[in-house]
C-alpha cells in the first residue's frame, strides 16, 4: 500500500509540473496587456511601452518561465501586477471560500446522492421513479440557472437567505450557514443527481449478487446488508463519479461565485484574466491544480483501500 501511495504521489507531482508548464505558456500567449489596467485609458503609448519594459514583459518567454519555476520551487508565486501584493497571500485568502464550496458541495453530493441512490435501488416502485425523475430534471438544469432560481425564490421573494456575500465560519457560524446554503445547493444539486443515478445502478447490480443472499441467510439485519456490505461493494463506480464531480464542482464554483458574489478563487481568476495579471492567473492555476490532483490522489488511495486489486494496477 505504501508503494502504491508513493507511486501515485510521484505521478501527482509530475502532473502538477506538466499542468503548470502548459499553463505558463498558454498564459504567455495571451494577448492581454496589463499596462492598460495599470495606466488607465489616458496613458500614452510611450508610457505603456516604458512600463512593459520595466515589468520585464518584453523578456523572452523561456527566461520568464525559468524565473517563474525557480520562484515556484521556493514557494514564491510572484507578485500581482495589479495589486502589487504577493500572489500566494491573495490565493490563500481566497481559497477557503472555493474549497468550502467544492468540498461542501461534494459532501452534500455524496451524502444525498448515495442515500437517495441506495433508497431508489432498494425500494423500487414509485420511490425509485420519483427519485430517478427528480434526478433527471435537476441534472438537466445548468447550475448557474439553478443558482439564479434559488436566489429569486429564497432571497428576493421569500427573503429567507441572503442573495450575496460570504461570512467566514470563524466569524459567525450561523451567518456562515446562511451565506453558504444557497451556493452549496446550487453547486451540489446537479452533481447529486449524477451520483444518485450511479449509486442506484451500482446498488441494483450488487443486490443481484449471490453474496448478498448469503449475507441475508446468515441472519444479518437488512440495514447492515444494504448499508454496510452492499454499499461497500457498490462504492467503487460511485467513487469514480464523485471524483469527476469534484473537478466539475471546481469549474462550477467560478460561475456560482459570480452569481452569489463570493470572494473565491474563481472570481479572482476571472478578474485577473480580464486585466492580464499573469502572476495571479498562474498562481490560481497552480493552486487549483494542486487541489484537484490531491483530490484525485485521495480517490486513488480510496480505490486501493476499497479494492486491493487496484493497488496492483
Amino acid at each position: 500500500m505504501t508503494l502504491y501511495i508513493l507511486r501515485r504521489l510521484g505521478i501527482t507531482v509530475l502532473m502538477v509540473f506538466i499542468v503548470v508548464t502548459l499553463a505558463f505558456f498558454l498564459v504567455a500567449l495571451m494577448p492581454n496587456d496589463v499596462t492598460s489596467a495599470i495606466l488607465g485609458p489616458d496613458a500614452t503609448r510611450e508610457a505603456r511601452d516604458a512600463l512593459r519594459e520595466e515589468m520585464g514583459l518584453n523578456d523572452p518567454a523561456l527566461f520568464r518561465y525559468f524565473s517563474f519555476i525557480t520562484g515556484l520551487l521556493q514557494g514564491d508565486l510572484g507578485t500581482s501586477y495589479v495589486s502589487r501584493q504577493p500572489v500566494v497571500t491573495q490565493v490563500l485568502d481566497r481559497m477557503p471560500v472555493t474549497l468550502t464550496l467544492s468540498i461542501g458541495g461534494i459532501i452534500l453530493t455524496t451524502v444525498l446522492g448515495v442515500v437517495l441512490g441506495v433508497v431508489a435501488a432498494t425500494r423500487g416502485g414509485w420511490v425509485d421513479s420519483a427519485i430517478r425523475g427528480s434526478a433527471g430534471v435537476v441534472q438537466a438544469i445548468p447550475n448557474f440557472w439553478l443558482a439564479v432560481l434559488l436566489v429569486l425564490v429564497f432571497a428576493v421573494n421569500l427573503k429567507l437567505l441572503p442573495a450575496s456575500g460570504w461570512t467566514p465560519i470563524a466569524e459567525n457560524p450561523l451567518d456562515f450557514l446562511r451565506s453558504a446554503t444557497l451556493p452549496l445547493l446550487a453547486i451540489g444539486l446537479a452533481a447529486t443527481a449524477a451520483v444518485v443515478r450511479q449509486a442506484r445502478v451500482a446498488m441494483m447490480d450488487v443486490q443481484a449478487k449471490d453474496y448478498m443472499q448469503t449475507l441475508r441467510a446468515t441472519g444479518l439485519p437488512e440495514w447492515r446488508v444494504i448499508w454496510i456490505h452492499g454499499l461497500r461493494n457498490a462504492s467503487i463506480p460511485v467513487l469514480t463519479v464523485i471524483g469527476l464531480q469534484f473537478v466539475a464542482l471546481f469549474g462550477g464554483a467560478v460561475l456560482i461565485e459570480q452569481v452569489f458574489a463570493l470572494p473565491g478563487v474563481g472570481s479572482l481568476v476571472v478578474a485577473s484574466v480580464n486585466v492580464g495579471d499573469m502572476p495571479m492567473i498562474l498562481g490560481v492555476v497552480v493552486a487549483l491544480s494542486v487541489v484537484i490532483l490531491l483530490m484525485n490522489l485521495l480517490i486513488d488511495i480510496l480505490y486501493g483501500v476499497l479494492n486491493p486489486k487496484a493497488r496492483l494496477a
Partner: protein
C-alpha cells in the same frame, strides 16, 4: 413501523428547526446600527486593488479612495470646481499656476499637511505609473512658495490641472505613505471623511467616520460598507433581497428596481460610436477622404440605434465633447442627420460608389460588439462592407499598432475640454493611434488652451469641437447614461457628480432628513 415514523418525524423536526434558525438570524445590512449610527452598504463592481490613489480612476472602485482621501480640488454635480485642500488656485500665465492650501488638515495617522507634502504628493503622482499619471505630464517643476502655497511651472499650456486635482492624482496621502508607498497596499493614509476600519479583500470593505476630518463636506454616513458584487444582475438581486442599499445598474435593471419600489437615477456619462482613426488612409485608403468619413456619419440613424441600445437613456449626437465640457455645442448634436442618400452621394463623389471593406476593431466589453452590430446594417445599406473584428484581449494593442482604420469604442464625455482633447485629438492620444495632425486643428487647440478668459476659452473650444465634427474624425452614435438604484426608504441624497459613473457617498443621508 412506529420507529420509522418516529425517525421521519424527528428528521422533519430537525430540518424545520435548522431552517428556522438559519432564516431567523438576519444578516441583512438594511437596518442602521443598533447604536443609532447611520450605516450604508453599497454594492461595488470591483474590489480595491490597493489603497494607493495612484491606481484609482473614475469608476466602480473610485469610492474606496474617495471615501478616505481628500482631494486638492472638489467638484459639484455640474462639474464646477470647488475648494478642497486647495483654497484657491490661479493661472498667472498659460504655463504658470499658483495654489494656496489649507494647513488644518490632519491625516488619520495624526500627521499634518503643508505645501512641502502637497509638492511631494504631486511629484509622486507625476513619476509613478498610474491611471491618471498622464494628466500631470504638463507639470515641469513644482515650487514650494511657503507653508501654505506652491506654484507649478508647466511645459505647455494646460488648464485642466485643477480638474485633474479633483481626481485621484489630487488625493493627498500622509508623509508616512510618501516615505513608504507600500503602506498603501493594505491601508488608507488619508484625511478624508472616512477611514478604512477593516476589509476582506474583494469582498467587504468597512469604513468609519473620521473624527479628524476638517474638510468642507458635512457627511451623514457614520459607517460606510462596500460589498463587492461583480455581476449587475447579482447586484440587483442583492438590492431586492435587502442585502445592500445601493447598486449600479443598466437601464433594464434600473427599471426592474423602480418597478419594485426602489429609487433610481442616471447620468449622461459616456459617448459610444465608431472612431475613424485612419484619417490619412494608411490601412483603409477610403478613410483618408473626408467625404467618406462624413458619409459614414450620415449613414447611421442615431435615434434608432441609440433607442435600441439604451432606450430613452441616451442623447444622439454627432460630437464627442460631453455636455459638461465648455466645448459642448448643442447644434452639433444633429450635425449629421440620418440621410443615407446623401451618404451614398458623398461616397460616389469620393470615388467609392460601390463602397469598400471596413474591418472595425471591437471588444466584447461594455456591450460594444452589440453596439457595433446595431450600426453595421446602416453601413451595409450604403455599400460599405463593415465587419466586426473582435480583439477583446488586445484591443488597445491592436489600436496602437495601427492594425485597424476604425474601432468601436466608448469615451467619457468628460468635464474638461482640454482633457477630452488630450484623450482623443492630441498626436499622442490613445484615441489618435495614427497620430493624425492637422495644422488647422492644432492652431485651434493652441488658441483655446492658451486662453485664460473663461467665456473666450469656451468659444474657442467650441470651435475645436465644430472642426472635429465637420471633419468627421469620429462617428459617434449617442451619449448614454450610467444608472444607479437604491433603497429610498433608508437613503437619500444620491446623485451623480458630473462625469462620474458611480455616485459618491458625500451627500448620502438618512431618508426624510
Amino acid at each position: 413501523m412506529r420507529s420509522r415514523k418516529l425517525r421521519v418525524t424527528t428528521g422533519v423536526a430537525i430540518f424545520g428547526v435548522a431552517t428556522l434558525v438559519l432564516t431567523s438570524c438576519s444578516g441583512t445590512t438594511n437596518a442602521s446600527s443598533t447604536d443609532g449610527s447611520f450605516e450604508v452598504t453599497a454594492a461595488s463592481l470591483e474590489g480595491a486593488p490597493t489603497f494607493d490613489p495612484v491606481m484609482y480612476m473614475n469608476g466602480a472602485a473610485y469610492d474606496y479612495a474617495a471615501a478616505a482621501y481628500e482631494t486638492l480640488v472638489m467638484y459639484d454635480d455640474e462639474g464646477n470646481l470647488l475648494p478642497g485642500i486647495a483654497t484657491a488656485w490661479e493661472y498667472t500665465t498659460p504655463t504658470e499656476m499658483t495654489m494656496d492650501i489649507r494647513t488644518d488638515v490632519v491625516f488619520e495617522d495624526g500627521s499634518g499637511l503643508d505645501a512641502e507634502l502637497v509638492a511631494a504628493n504631486l511629484e509622486r503622482y507625476r513619476t509613478t505609473p498610474g491611471t491618471y499619471q498622464a494628466r500631470l505630464n504638463s507639470i515641469d517643476t513644482i515650487t514650494v512658495v511657503d507653508e501654505d502655497s506652491l506654484s507649478l511651472t508647466l511645459n505647455t499650456a494646460d488648464q485642466s490641472l485643477p480638474q485633474a486635482f479633483s481626481l485621484s492624482v489630487g488625493m493627498m496621502v500622509s508623509q508616512a505613505a510618501i516615505d513608504d508607498p507600500d503602506l498603501l497596499l493594505t491601508d488608507t493614509y488619508g484625511s478624508g471623511p472616512w477611514v478604512l476600519d477593516s476589509y476582506a479583500e474583494d469582498s467587504e470593505y468597512h469604513y468609519i467616520r473620521n473624527p479628524e476630518y476638517s474638510g468642507p463636506l458635512d457627511v451623514a454616513v457614520d459607517e460606510l460598507n462596500f460589498t463587492v458584487i461583480t455581476d449587475l444582475t447579482a447586484q440587483l438581486n442583492a438590492l431586492l433581497a435587502g442585502d445592500v442599499d445601493l447598486i449600479s445598474a443598466q437601464w433594464s435593471q434600473r427599471e426592474t428596481a423602480e418597478a419594485q419600489g426602489f429609487a433610481a437615477l442616471s447620468s449622461e456619462s459616456n459617448v459610444g460610436g465608431i472612431w475613424l482613426f485612419d484619417r490619412a488612409g494608411a490601412v483603409v485608403p477610403a478613410l483618408a477622404d473626408v467625404r467618406v468619413r462624413q458619409a459614414i456619419n450620415y449613414a447611421i440613424d442615431r435615434e434608432a440605434v441609440g433607442t435600441a441600445l439604451w432606450s430613452e437613456y441616451q442623447r444622439p449626437s454627432s460630437a464627442v465633447f460631453g455636455i459638461y465640457t465648455t466645448a459642448y455645442e448643442e447644434s452639433l448634436d444633429d450635425y449629421y442627420e440620418y440621410d443615407p442618400e446623401r451618404a451614398m452621394e458623398l461616397l460616389a463623389e469620393a470615388g467609392y460608389p460601390d463602397g469598400f471593406d471596413l474591418p472595425i476593431l471591437a471588444r466584447s466589453m461594455f456591450g460594444e460588439i452589440q453596439r457595433l452590430e446595431a450600426a453595421l446594417p446602416y453601413l451595409e445599406a450604403i455599400g460599405i462592407n463593415a465587419t466586426v473584428e473582435d480583439r477583446t484581449n488586445d484591443y488597445f494593442d491592436a489600436m496602437t499598432n495601427q492594425e485597424y482604420g476604425a474601432a468601436q469604442g466608448q469615451q467619457n464625455g468628460g468635464t474638461n475640454s482640454y482633457v477630452n482633447m488630450s484623450n482623443m485629438l492630441a498626436p499622442n492620444a490613445q484615441l489618435n493611434p495614427f497620430e493624425t495632425v492637422d495644422p488647422a486643428l492644432t492652431a485651434l487647440i493652441q488658441d483655446a488652451a492658451g486662453e485664460l478668459e473663461e467665456d473666450a476659452a469656451a468659444t474657442k473650444w467650441q470651435a475645436v469641437n465644430e472642426w472635429v465634427v465637420e471633419n468627421a474624425w469620429f462617428a459617434p452614435v449617442a451619449f448614454y447614461h450610467t444608472h444607479t438604484a437604491w433603497n429610498d426608504d433608508k437613503l437619500d441624497g444620491v446623485s451623480f457628480a458630473a462625469g462620474q459613473t458611480y455616485p459618491l457617498p458625500f451627500e448620502w443621508r438618512p431618508a426624510g432628513e
